[in-house]
Structures are given as structure tokens and as C-alpha cells.
């Protein structure tokens, strides 16, 4: 052992690291590897056939497309909500602040039923949209609405602390230097917020891709049109096609992982100034 060993105030590095690895294996890695092993029972040809069937492909498009769009919508409006909550004082602010967390706390099935009934052709909002030929419930649009609903808190809660920490002096400095409001926002404030917006976007996206409960009620679940991938996995399971289910699941896992990794890289780039 080296003499120049570092002494920490609290001992137990070996123990805690061991525990961390063991725990991660138990909770995350073993179940995920089971997924891969189960998939591996299929031949390559079967696997490709299972994950590229037209119905499956359509479900990828719906799921990832809607999730991406929902995350983008949340990134814009979540920032807006966070901005209002941080910058202004108004009556009922605490209530609004609490409301933001509701999609976190609500059981997804409750959210699904609520959304489905509100946006159904005879529901409160559906009734208003119906005459304009806009159908939300039981269409891909409904999936988008559900995904936006469940993803909103992620953006708000990641951007909020950054906005709170941002010094008012930055804006004042920009104004003293002659920048107008748009320039101040685009060149001074937005770049500071960007990493947190990207984090919120990634979290919102990941949640939307994996969402099941709140979507299936409003989606209508028409094959090739409004069927999401998680539902397809359930369907396969109900048909005792375990290998087929895990095959699709592993594709989703891979896709999610790549997406998160890409967003992480993007985040690192946008934080390059942190030194």
C-alpha cells in the first residue's frame, strides 16, 4: 500500500462503493440483463422480424415522435411557467407552484381517465374542439396531450432553481451596455438557462417514452395509428410472446439510452464555460 494514502474524514470508501455497486446491480442491472438474455433466446432473424414488423415500426414512430414533440413543447412552456413562478409575485402563487407537481403525484391511470373524459367529443374541452374538426381523444394528438401533461413538471423543476440563482445584475449589466430586451434574453439569460432546459427536456422525453397508464385511456390504441410501443409490449405479453415483448423492449431501452446519452453530451457542451 502507498504511504501517501488520502485520509478522509469519514472512512468506509470500500464498503460504500461495494454497497452502491451491489444495489445498482440488484435494482437496475440484473433486471435489464434479464431483458437482454430473454431476447437472446430468439434467433437474429426472428429478432429483426419482431422489432421491424410494420405495426411495431408504426408504434415507434408514434411513441418517439410524440415524446419528442411533447418534450419540445414542455421545454418552451415549462420555461415560461418557471419564469413566471420565479420572477413575479401574484396571489395564489404557492398554489400554482404546487399544481405544477400534480402530474408527478397523480396516479397515471387517474390522469389518463381524466384526460380522456375531458378531451372526449362530449367532454369539456373536446366539446369545444369538436365543431372545429379537431379530435384529441383517441388520436395521436391525445397521446401528445397526455405526454405533455406528465412531462411538464420535469422542465419546470429543473429550470426553476437556475432562474432563482440568476443574478438580476446580469440583466442590469446587459442594459447598461446598451442591449435591448430581446438581446438580453437571447445572449445573456438563455445561454445560462440552456443546460437546465436540456436536462428538463431529456427527463420529460424519457418519461414520455416510458409512459403507459395515462396514455392508453386517451390514445384509442388503433394499430398503425395511435398505438404506443409500451402497449405493444403488453399485448405481446398477453399473447405469451415473451421473447417478442423483450425484443421490442430492448430496442426501446437502446433508443432511450442513446437519446439520454446524446442529451448528456449536449448538456456538457452547453456547460463548457463552467470551467
Amino acid at each position: 500500500m502507498k504511504k501517501s494514502q488520502r485520509h478522509n474524514v469519514l472512512p468506509g470508501f470500500g464498503l460504500t462503493l461495494g454497497y452502491t455497486i451491489f444495489y445498482l446491480c440488484l435494482i437496475v442491472l440484473i433486471p435489464l440483463s434479464a431483458l437482454v438474455f430473454k431476447t437472446a433466446t430468439m434467433s437474429w432473424g426472428d429478432f429483426v422480424a419482431a422489432v421491424t414488423a410494420p405495426r411495431v415500426m408504426a408504434s415507434y414512430r408514434v411513441t418517439f415522435g410524440a415524446a419528442l414533440l411533447a418534450a419540445a413543447i414542455n421545454a418552451v412552456f415549462g420555461v415560461l411557467v418557471a419564469w413566471v413562478l420565479v420572477r413575479y409575485r401574484f396571489p395564489g402563487k404557492r398554489l400554482v407552484d404546487a399544481l405544477v407537481d400534480l402530474p408527478f403525484a397523480l396516479p397515471t391511470a387517474v390522469a389518463g381517465i381524466t384526460l380522456a373524459s375531458v378531451y372526449a367529443p362530449n367532454g369539456w374541452i373536446g366539446k369545444l374542439l369538436e365543431p372545429h374538426g379537431i379530435k384529441v381523444a383517441y388520436t395521436p394528438l391525445g397521446i401528445l396531450v397526455a405526454m405533455v401533461f406528465i412531462g411538464l413538471p420535469f422542465v419546470v423543476r429543473t429550470v426553476q432553481p437556475v432562474l432563482e440563482e440568476m443574478e438580476a445584475e446580469l440583466e442590469e449589466a446587459a442594459a447598461c451596455l446598451g442591449a435591448n430586451r430581446l438581446q438580453t434574453f437571447v445572449r445573456v439569460l438563455f445561454p445560462v438557462m440552456l443546460p437546465s432546459i436540456l436536462t428538463g427536456f431529456a427527463l420529460s422525453f424519457a418519461r414520455a417514452v416510458g409512459e403507459y397508464g395515462s396514455i392508453i385511456f386517451i390514445a384509442g390504441n388503433m394499430p398503425m395509428v395511435s398505438e404506443i410501443t409500451p402497449l405493444l409490449i403488453i399485448t405481446k405479453l398477453e399473447q405469451y410472446d415473451y421473447a417478442g415483448a423483450t425484443a421490442i423492449a430492448s430496442v426501446m431501452l437502446l433508443a432511450s439510452f442513446i437519446m439520454l446519452f446524446a442529451v448528456n453530451l449536449l448538456q456538457k457542451w452547453s456547460r463548457r464555460f463552467a470551467g
Binding site: E169, E172, A175, C176, A179, N180, F273
Partner: protein, 356 residues
């Protein structure tokens, strides 16, 4: 460009930050706004900059009323205590910001901006750091970047809010001398806020001393230090010994000490306070006149060129502090516990405003 502050009043909620403040700042001068925290000096600076609007009164730049004008149009350079640098921009981009955000018509070309920025980087002695981010700089370097950024837009007025407040003592001292030299080169009308009297007295052409939202005194550093106009200024600038007593028709009596105060000849019997700087106390072995008072030597701090001596008055048992040069101290050959006579060479007596 001269700045005139006319009868500014400003309150925040129930708190009055500034009460009818007027200050004149001639072109090209470096002025310090000095005062304890909460005295309104930063509010005044922010009102001059246009970051805050006054409740009453007006600000005139070069004789023209600018009170209602937006910050963007005032052409002021503002340096913040905590730098307020744009963390996601390099040193170069920070300094160039003010030029890059100009409308296309008045924006200089890229080459001109680059030349100008590099010239400023040289001016603030940060050569070779153009591509660094603020997080890679020390506090002193960051503040110099902030200064260069403010200077880039060629402001007519430079305002600095406790510019060295967040720096450690040595960097502070270095930077304030550097600021003084820079000002001598550029001759831009500058106002800086500080609570550090040493900083104000060392750097500024003139010092405006503020307290509780009002100007106590304005003048050159020598002027305010040697001739404080109010008890507050006496207390705030440097150390001072206080003698409590009464004044009656030009004669102040503080314990056994009697001082003549011809300037207070018209004052009938009133409580009064005498102010004497430690270095204005004469220590003598023999009793000379009625302005002398007997005291005992309690402590002697003989480190450095100035010897500080703590004394206890024989009549009131109050503590006083005297400062002697090393020579004078050695000539006197003082010992702790000795009795000695103390006579103020220079003093000022103020009638105590406190009335029963």
C-alpha cells in the same frame, strides 16, 4: 461630463434610503461615495445610472436632465461588486458585448471590435486571457474584465459599486492604485461607492460622506479628514477620542479638562462632546495648563512606526488612545502604569444634539 444630483429622495417601502440629496460632480473627477452600509450610497449610484428611479429630484448629465432617460441611453459604464460577468462568454466576448449589441447602423465592423477589445485587454493587463471564461479567472482579474467591458462602450460616466468589496486585502490595494492610474490616463468622470474609508481617501479626488440617506460632508480627502464637519464624519474617518462634558459661552469643560471653543461662544450651557484624534494628543511629564488632564498608561502597542498608547483618565476613568511616533515615544521613555499629563493639540467640540 459633469453630473449633478439635485434634491434626490428615494424610499423603498417604508424605508427612506435617500433624503433630499444633492451632489455636484465636475467633469473628469473621481468621486467616492463613502458611508456605512445602509446609508444610501449604492441607491444613489443606481439612481445616477438609471437602474433605479428617484421619487423626487433630478439627475443632470452635463446640464441636461436625464432623470427620465432609460439606462440604455445614458451611456454610463457600471461595474458591479460581484462583477456580473457573463459566465458563458469568454473574456473577449464579455468585453465585446456592448459593441456587438449595437444596432447594425452604428455597430463597428468585426475587425474594429476585435482591435478595440484587444486594446482594452492590454489596458486592464489581461493579455493572453482573451479566450478564458470568467470561471478561470481570479477575483481581481474578473473585476478588471468587468471594468474593460464597461469601458468598451466609451461611457461618458463610469460608476463603480463597491468595485473591490469582494476581493482580499492585498488585491484590493493593488487594484485601487491601478484604478487611480487608469483614471489619470482616461479622465472619465467616475463615481465609486465604498464603505472603506482608507480606499476612499486614497483613491478619490473628492469624497462624499453619507449617513442615513443624507450627505454629511463633501470635500477633498485632506479636507474631510482634517476638518470634519460633523460628529459622524469625525467618528467615521479614522480613530477618535471622545470627551463628554458641557459647553458654556465658548468654554468647554470635560471632567478636569477645560478647552476654549470660541466658535461656540453663543451657546449657553449645553451638553457637548469633544473629538480628538489619537495623534493629536500630546503626552507630557509636566502639567502645562487647564487643557491638560492626568492619565495612567494602561497599554503600549509598540509594533510598527506608530506607537499606540492606551490611557485611562485620572478624573473620569474613561479610556483614551494616543498615537506617537517611535522617536517621540523613545524620548518620553514611557512605562506601563505611569501617570502622565495629556493635552489635546487639536480638537473640535460639538454641541450634543441630544436634548432633554
Amino acid at each position: 461630463m459633469s453630473i449633478e444630483v439635485r434634491n434626490i429622495t428615494k424610499s423603498f417601502g417604508g424605508f427612506t434610503a435617500l433624503k433630499d440629496v444633492s451632489v455636484n460632480i465636475p467633469t473628469g473627477e473621481l468621486i467616492a461615495l463613502l458611508g456605512p452600509s445602509g446609508c444610501g450610497k449604492t441607491s444613489l449610484l443606481r439612481i445616477i445610472a438609471g437602474l433605479e428611479t428617484p421619487d423626487q429630484g433630478s439627475i443632470h448629465f452635463h446640464g441636461a436632465d436625464t432623470t427620465g432617460r432609460d439606462v440604455r441611453e445614458r451611456k454610463v459604464g457600471f461595474v458591479f461588486q460581484h462583477y456580473a460577468l457573463f459566465k458563458h462568454m469568454t473574456v473577449f466576448d464579455n468585453i465585446a458585448f456592448g459593441l456587438q449589441v449595437r444596432p447594425r447602423k452604428t455597430r463597428p465592423s468585426k475587425n474594429i471590435i476585435a482591435d478595440k477589445v484587444h486594446e482594452l485587454i492590454r489596458l486592464v493587463q489581461l493579455e493572453g486571457m482573451a479566450d478564458r471564461y470568467p470561471s478561470q479567472l481570479s477575483g481581481g482579474q474578473r473585476q478588471r474584465v468587468a471594468l474593460a467591458r464597461a469601458l468598451a462602450v466609451e461611457p461618458q460616466v463610469l460608476l463603480l459599486d463597491e468595485p473591490f468589496g469582494a476581493l482580499d486585502a492585498r488585491v484590493r490595494q493593488e487594484l485601487r492604485r491601478w484604478l487611480r492610474r487608469l483614471h489619470d490616463e482616461l479622465h472619465i468622470t467616475s463615481v465609486f461607492v465604498t464603505h472603506d474609508q482608507e480606499e476612499a481617501l486614497e483613491v478619490a479626488d473628492r469624497v462624499v460622506i453619507m449617513n442615513a440617506g443624507q450627505v454629511e460632508q463633501a470635500g477633498t480627502p485632506e479636507d474631510v479628514y482634517d476638518h470634519p464637519a460633523t460628529p459622524f464624519v469625525y467618528n467615521f474617518l479614522g480613530n477618535v477620542n471622545l470627551f463628554h462634558g458641557r459647553v458654556d459661552q465658548g468654554q468647554a469643560k470635560m471632567g478636569a479638562m477645560e478647552l476654549s471653543t470660541p466658535e461656540l461662544a453663543a451657546v449657553p450651557d449645553r451638553p457637548a462632546v469633544g473629538y480628538v484624534r489619537p495623534h493629536d494628543l500630546e503626552l507630557e511629564r509636566t502639567y502645562s495648563d487647564s487643557s491638560s488632564v492626568e492619565a495612567a498608561v494602561r497599554h503600549i502597542h509598540a509594533v510598527g512606526p506608530i506607537v499606540r498608547i492606551e490611557l485611562e483618565r485620572g478624573d473620569t476613568f474613561e479610556t483614551m488612545e494616543a498615537e506617537l511616533t517611535k522617536d517621540a515615544y523613545q524620548k518620553l521613555a514611557l512605562l506601563v502604569g505611569e501617570r502622565i499629563f495629556v493635552r489635546p493639540r487639536k480638537y473640535r467640540v460639538f454641541v450634543d444634539d441630544y436634548q432633554i
